[in-house]
């Protein structure tokens, strides 16, 4: 059994600028925040983010200047907190391109990559301006049925997911909602898993992502915070509220990042 354990610093250092990076989790839940924080510390640039529904992760990477484009269905902090201020500002200023998807078309793009085909037909999207705005083409059914929208394959260079438990080889157990994490791991060229705990062995029945699909395993207790991790901890409403308040202005976001992530005392 291969031992895929490494440090967070080494795992993130292997991501080149400009990479397409899929982030696991959904809105405020089981988001790979420790890895996102390390991306900010290492000052990555030009990242093309892929996410179904994002919040703190995408907002922070936009504020820190790491992201160049965001392919996602929804970016917002939900009812407790509202819109994502740094993402909004970055798109409105032209610094970041919003490649809006329907969440289902992110999944369709990942499925195309998983299945080794160039695109995936998807139901719906009729009457929406999204296909025209995003260049998603409707294609005729070669067997005579109705036309369907064809979503191009999304092949992340790297998928990063945070889970509750792995073994040293990366066999990963996800407790509770799996979101799109398994699909992201299957579609990506490389997979980084951060985990609350590394245990000697996980029952095969409980493994959501097999270790042979994984390139790097990083033990990162609390690695989803300030977002939630099912069975481990809830999201930290104070910390998220603090970020959103700071991120209302570009200066506020920069100072928050300097103090919380970049100052020597804040590192690791």
């Amino acid at each position: 059994m291969s031992d895929r354990r490494t440090t967070l610093r080494a795992a993130i250092a292997a991501i080149p600028d400009g990479a397409t990076v899929a982030l696991g989790g959904n809105t405020l839940h089981r988001v790979p925040c420790a890895a996102v924080h390390e991306i900010v510390r290492q000052g990555k640039r030009g990242l093309q983010l892929v996410k179904t529904a994002g919040a703190y992760d995408v907002d922070l990477l936009c504020a820190a200047g790491c992201a160049e484009a965001v392919a996602a269905g929804f970016i917002g902090f939900e009812t407790p907190f509202g819109m994502a201020p740094a993402y909004r500002r970055a798109v409105e200023s032209g610094a970041v391109e919003a490649r809006e998807h329907v969440c289902a078309s992110v999944i369709a793009g990942l499925r195309a990559a998983i299945q080794g085909v160039p695109f995936m037909p998807l139901a719906g999207m009729t009457g929406s301006d999204l296909p025209a705005a995003r260049g998603f083409r409707f294609v005729a059914d070669p067997y005579g049925g109705p036309a369907v929208v064809a979503i191009p394959a999304i092949t992340p260079d790297v998928a990063i997911v945070h889970v509750q438990e792995t073994d040293a080889a990366g066999n990963a157990r996800i407790v509770g909602s799996r979101f799109e994490d398994v699909l992201m791991a299957q579609a990506a060229r490389r997979v980084i898993v951060t985990t609350e705990r590394i245990v000697p062995r996980i029952d095969a029945d409980l493994v959501a992502i097999p270790g042979f699909l994984i390139d790097a395993v990083v033990e990162a207790p609390g690695g989803a915070a300030p977002c939630s991790c099912a069975g481990e901890y809830d999201y930290d409403a104070d910390a998220l509220g603090d970020w959103i308040a700071a991120a209302k202005t570009a200066d506020g976001a920069r100072q928050w990042i300097d103090a919380r992530l970049l100052a020597p005392a804040a590192t690791r």
Binding site: E78, T79, E92, C103, A123, D129, A133, V182
Partner: protein
């Protein structure tokens, strides 16, 4: 007195719940406290065989405490099975989802929604969160229920800045009234107690016919209010309202 204090959240919750039928498969996604509460109410009140599905993936969850984020692991508690979001979109795509709950930052007179941008899409004045699953769900779910806790001319507009999704809209529930789609246009189905027809006309950017003959929405019954208090003692139902 704010809308939340006037009881608008409970009025909206019961109006939504009553529109759900026993045995239907019903789905809500992110940022959906009112549909979450309304679905749980319908299941307890008149639709025990309703299948409650959420983006968290729990099937028929019985949450001990209601979360404010509707993706929260609290929506797995008591679930009988787990599905993924991909499973839920597939269910709708093949015509097996009865009801999808969606909302719009802007909603037009045909029930289409904008969740994408104010101003040009490529360089917006306001970049909105995005439509999440709506462009797939709205055309494929058997019926879509829209809800919005603000009813004014910035929300209910003649022309959308961008059409994020269009499709099988059945009803739109607001703090003032319930719209129903008839012949492709939103029409006032019932007006909430304490609201005047003039208020609705003034708050709606597209033409609506509403007058003294428009039926009144039945206010929440004592039984419904008791169930709501049992399901939602912390009044998460009001969390989408200012001051809620």
């Amino acid at each position: 007195m704010s809308a939340a204090e006037r009881g608008a959240p409970e009025q909206m919750a019961v109006a939504i719940a009553r529109a759900l039928r026993d045995g239907e498969t019903v789905f809500h996604g992110v940022a959906s406290p009112l549909p979450m509460v309304a679905t749980l109410l319908a299941k307890r009140a008149h639709a025990p065989n309703l299948v409650y599905l959420s983006i968290a993936g729990g099937v028929d969850a019985e949450p001990e405490r209601l979360p404010r984020s509707t993706v929260d692991p609290a929506l797995l508690h008591g679930a009988r099975a787990m599905v993924t979001l991909a499973d839920l979109f597939d269910l709708s795509a093949r015509g097996r989802l009865d009801v999808a709950f969606l909302s719009g930052v802007q909603i037009d007179g045909t029930g289409r929604i904008n969740m994408s941008a104010i101003g040009p899409f490529a360089r917006p004045k306001v970049r909105l969160p995005g439509g999440a699953g709506s462009a797939l769900l709205m055309p494929t779910a058997r019926r879509t229920m829209l809800w919005r806790t603000r009813h004014d001319r910035r929300v209910f507009v003649e022309t959308l800045d961008f059409v994020t999704a269009a499709g099988n809209v059945d009803r739109v529930v607001t703090p003032l009234c319930v719209f129903r789609r008839e012949a492709g246009r939103l029409a006032v189905d019932s007006i909430h107690p304490g609201v005047t027809p003039e208020q609705i006309v003034a708050a709606t950017g597209f033409p609506v016919e509403v007058g003294p003959e428009t039926p009144l929405t039945e206010p929440p019954t004592a039984d419904e209010l008791a169930l709501l208090r049992a399901i939602d003692p912390e009044r998460v139902v009001a969390s989408e309202f200012a001051g809620g």
